[in-house]
Symmetry: D2
Subunit: 368 residues, 4 copies
């Protein structure tokens, strides 16, 4: 269940004037989430460059001007009274748009990952540090999911002893419409776009630990077009950390049964599991085939409530001037590991890091 | 997942001016649901006779008057511009308040059951019929739950052949605070207050069928105070219908593990089950005890989304002048069966009905 | 897992010379169980009147005479050296054959139920009492199943507090071959042949309690031929006991998904469940339909190990002259309740018992 | 369920005179399995060097000499009439004893792995090839488990399309008695002793494929003594195969909840899972902690039936002169991969293989 009803008794709610950039699948959902499920938000504007999306927006938001519709991001962020922007475009413009918003003095909630390019991502993190009066937050939705939070609480209170291994997978429903292949070209390889959630969860559960070495392997089961992008549609990676903790990941774009996102945290005295048997709801059907349950088709059905919680907590961080729950640096660290795995996949070689977690040049740092 | 994001693209939303009567556990929740999760609603007023609840309301809703706080129901329903009221008080005043609201020309969403008294309930149903311009709806929240709706859709499309048996249970977490015993005195016996949901689900799944006979038995496991109310804390009942369909129910107030509400619909070619293994979320814990999941403590955690959907659909029915999804008569029929079971429990005798589903005097209607 | 490997270190095993009467589905299985899984048994003979079954036996057991094949029960029990017989024929000759064996001085393991006729059953129980040097045991296989025994151990050690309600169901896979309809004619109605296991489990879990009243209802979903037998293919029954404990049952012959036998024992501080989600093994399949498991097609796949344990314990009781784990009287009590439910089904009336559990004439004993 | 009752109708059963070498935990179990669950076997002898074990054997098997008890392996295999031996000693003498038995003209069922030393293992495989009239079989019990066989049948008939990834784990209950640490010294590192089952299952499900590269990592969570053995108590490994198929493994000696052995086979159109939620039986307990099931403490409880099936099929292979279900070479291949993972764990480096699956010297074969 969402946290909506735990909100403190406060009236009238201060409301944050916020805009949504991008009106693709997620942009539309974020706009509706802000309107319908975030009492602390006032959706002030939306923007897109896509004519179909703009058409949708004009119809959906109507002509009364309560929600302004822009066909240009830079124009939108000039809107008087605007306080924040939720960047929901494709990854290749995340850094650019976040930078522009911060420079304009806006708070930013930026979808993960910050960038496909590590240097660019580092520059945005630095910019955010240089503007400590602005809240700039990385959008890793799973940290706002009730089950992941319950698991985290259990780990923190010692239910499983000392947590030392994470297994995590992000497996998407096979998409044969061609949408995914187009999407992949703009959103980075499987370890940067998809596994990055699992890496983030590893840091969530195991703490702020430094990678020591990683390796990856992958295969193309359904989408030959990915070869040209140096990518695969099924990838497996392992990361060893300097304090002896371990993580291993499986990411797939080709599941027949639905969105199958699962995480196990193994400790010295137990194990916490999240969603190891995915179920779309509480229904079972018994028939000649046996007994079955359906599975959510995509992450939206699994994480809809988490996105609402994420938006509520971002708005509260701004309105009450509290630290954001997920600072931008955290996203950067996951991105560095994601890239190391993607490079290991490409080269077949182990990627190693020094004791500070800084990546070493190829060939250095091997165990004696 | 809730239906929020399936709402039609319409802006600005027409909003229904609605008040909440009663600010107990559920009244508070309904007020928040209307504020935060029902874009079609404008929470105009709340009322309570309880000083603590009023104090809470004054603080929560603030002094700006956007939500007016009343200490008297009859005064509240005079509020100019008010269009509807959500009756969330204890069962013993449901009928009275619904009647007053209808007479005042307000639409009403009334929590189940309409009354503990069948004649009173029938009078309200008649009043609603006499005022067809008003929407008067029975609040059976399970019909708005995503899992129950999925099960219903499967039954309707023939997944299990012809549905002919329902097993349904409503089992509440044991409450040792004394709250439940006080609650029971005002809300009716186990078959009227609790099993009535299971009866309603039976009609939902098996259609508009006529009861033929029923029997019930029960025991007191934890709450000896119930004996004075002619009630039990664990009751089991069976209902045979004239078309050969069957239903059997188990209701308990004394579960150690949480709110355990489950339903099975058995058909000629399969079975659909809702929540036969209750889980509060997607988390499992493995440890020395084995592998375990937690269970929702009460119906709110299980049905929070359903209440939001119920409110949304009620508001839409009014705003768009559509039939309400759950007309008041339906609640009446469940109540008649609930009372038959409660009487069978008390007398130990079979209660029988004629072919129209009208209850027969004791001793009449036995087979042969 | 079976208890085979917990057997005491004892060599050479004393072996009991035992015969199997009846070579239908179960007779064949029992013969093999004795040969392959019961080191304490020496299968000495088998018998059948069916020519096909005899043909199978001659081929299977070969010509070396180690296992003698008879076409007549009365001749078989004259076999010199024979010590015991496992009666696996149809219900209508159980009592007759058990009587003959006891009179011949043989120990008997008799499949449930002892008889369809209560007086006949009582006579056999009396005969067994009059021959205390012989072990005469009722074959209720579920009491030998590892899961039911684990559940019983948990109930006995107080895991769920004081057990006070049993819900139990015996639901068989739909059989469209005609076998079941022929079987039904010789094996008694649904509450006597099928529900009797659930009644036995109720006494297993709740102890030696006296019935007070019961009622039943049923319907025919697939087998219209049952109407002529005064029977149904789906029956539901409830039993109230004098000490306030309760049981309710569902028996079906028409499941689409397999053999679905489940039991819940509800206590004041918890609930133990056996097989509420039936699974034929540890395999799950994920695909376009979601995630599914298969279900055992019939009770043999579910209870194969239990039958071996039952045979082992019967042999040990004889060889070591210990009381049998399931004395014949226990089966009689279940049968009395089974018949009361069957009669309630037929008449639509409540059947009542006095405080000793003795059935009252119709119309007597109603609650005041 | 076991396959006992599917055995062909054949009487009298030919019986294989077989001995068990080693009477540790598993040796005792194998001796009993042969006695009680394998009608095709005649347990002729057992041997051990351990005085306690011998004492147990003398008592258990008695003085009648039906089962001869030896304190020396070489003497035992001279027993006249002996046809086969089941080698159940610790890994460090498997090869030696298998060699001696083959040279003596006995059929051999040898527990996995054949040896900790690859050259020694290869020599035994060669010896077996040179003696084609003898059946020499590798004891990988999981291939005889009903669930794994069901999964394999589903993969073979195309239920999941083309299988291309295996995830498999072998996780043992934490043992704090010191037994495991002593055991580890004689039975090889985690990838050779434990993961080898998962490697074997990979070949079972994906076919006879050639490894291309592998990497591993591990950590010590509970048993510091393992450091001196160049071993860990939690290891994770990945293997890439030349045809693009992939496998990844997790082995642990430190589970709090029991023996947790699970396997997933991922295909282009579905996924088959074995035991992803381990359950020791069909029982669930609901209480204040939620709802829980227990887990098998060790592999015996999980695989007892599989060992019986393995023994039956080995005996049948000998008696009917059929190929053994699991030729020795197969075990060799798993061992080669197991050692590659163990070396990768130790060196931190990727181990690579040529296109024939032959291991390359360190540093060679890296992807371009």
């Amino acid at each position: 269940m969402d946290s909506l009803h735990n909100m403190p008794p406060k009236a009238p709610y201060g409301k944050l004037n916020i805009a949504v950039a991008g009106l693709g699948r997620m942009g539309k959902r974020h706009a509706k989430t802000l309107m319908y499920r975030v009492p602390q938000a006032n959706l002030a504007a939306v923007c897109s460059k896509d004519e179909k999306e703009l058409e949708w927006a004009r119809q959906f938001f109507g002509a009364d001007g309560a929600v302004k519709v822009f066909d240009d991001y830079d124009t939108m962020i000039q809107l008087p009274g605007l306080q924040a922007v939720w960047v929901s475009t494709s990854t290749n413009v995340h850094a650019l748009q976040t930078t522009a918003a911060v420079k304009k003095g806006l708070h930013v909630l930026c979808e993960k990952p910050l960038s496909q390019n590590l240097d660019e991502a580092r520059a945005v993190v630095q910019l955010a540090k240089d503007n400590p009066h602005l809240k700039v937050m990385a959008g890793y939705s799973r940290r706002f999911d009730a089950s992941y939070r319950d698991a985290k609480a259990k780990v923190d209170k010692g239910t499983i002893g000392d947590a030392f291994i994470v297994r995590s997978q992000t497996c998407d429903l096979l998409d044969n419409t061609g949408f995914f292949v187009r999407y992949a070209a703009k959103n980075g390889g499987v370890f940067v776009d998809c596994c990055i959630h699992d890496i983030d969860l590893t840091l969530f559960f195991l703490g702020d630990i430094k990678p020591k070495a990683c390796w990856a392997m992958g295969t193309i089961a359904h989408h030959p077009e990915l070869a040209a992008l140096n990518d695969v549609d099924n990838g497996i990676g392992m990361v060893e950390f300097w304090n002896g903790k371990l993580a291993y990941f499986y990411c797939s774009r080709t599941m027949a049964h639905g969105h199958d996102v699962a995480t196990e945290v193994i400790g010295t005295h137990g194990k916490v599991m999240v969603n190891v048997h995915p179920r779309s709801n509480n229904v079972l059907v018994a028939g000649e085939h046996g007994i079955s349950n359906e599975v959510q088709p995509e992450y939206w059905e699994r994480f809809e409530d988490a996105f609402a919680t994420e938006a509520i907590e971002f708005c509260e961080a701004v309105l009450e001037d509290k630290p954001v729950p997920l600072p931008l640096e955290l996203g950067l660290k996951s991105l560095e590991i994601g890239w190391a795995l993607q490079d290991a996949l490409l080269t077949g070689k182990v990627v190693r890091f020094d004791r500070e977690g800084k990546r070493l040049p190829e060939g250095e740092g091997a165990k004696l």
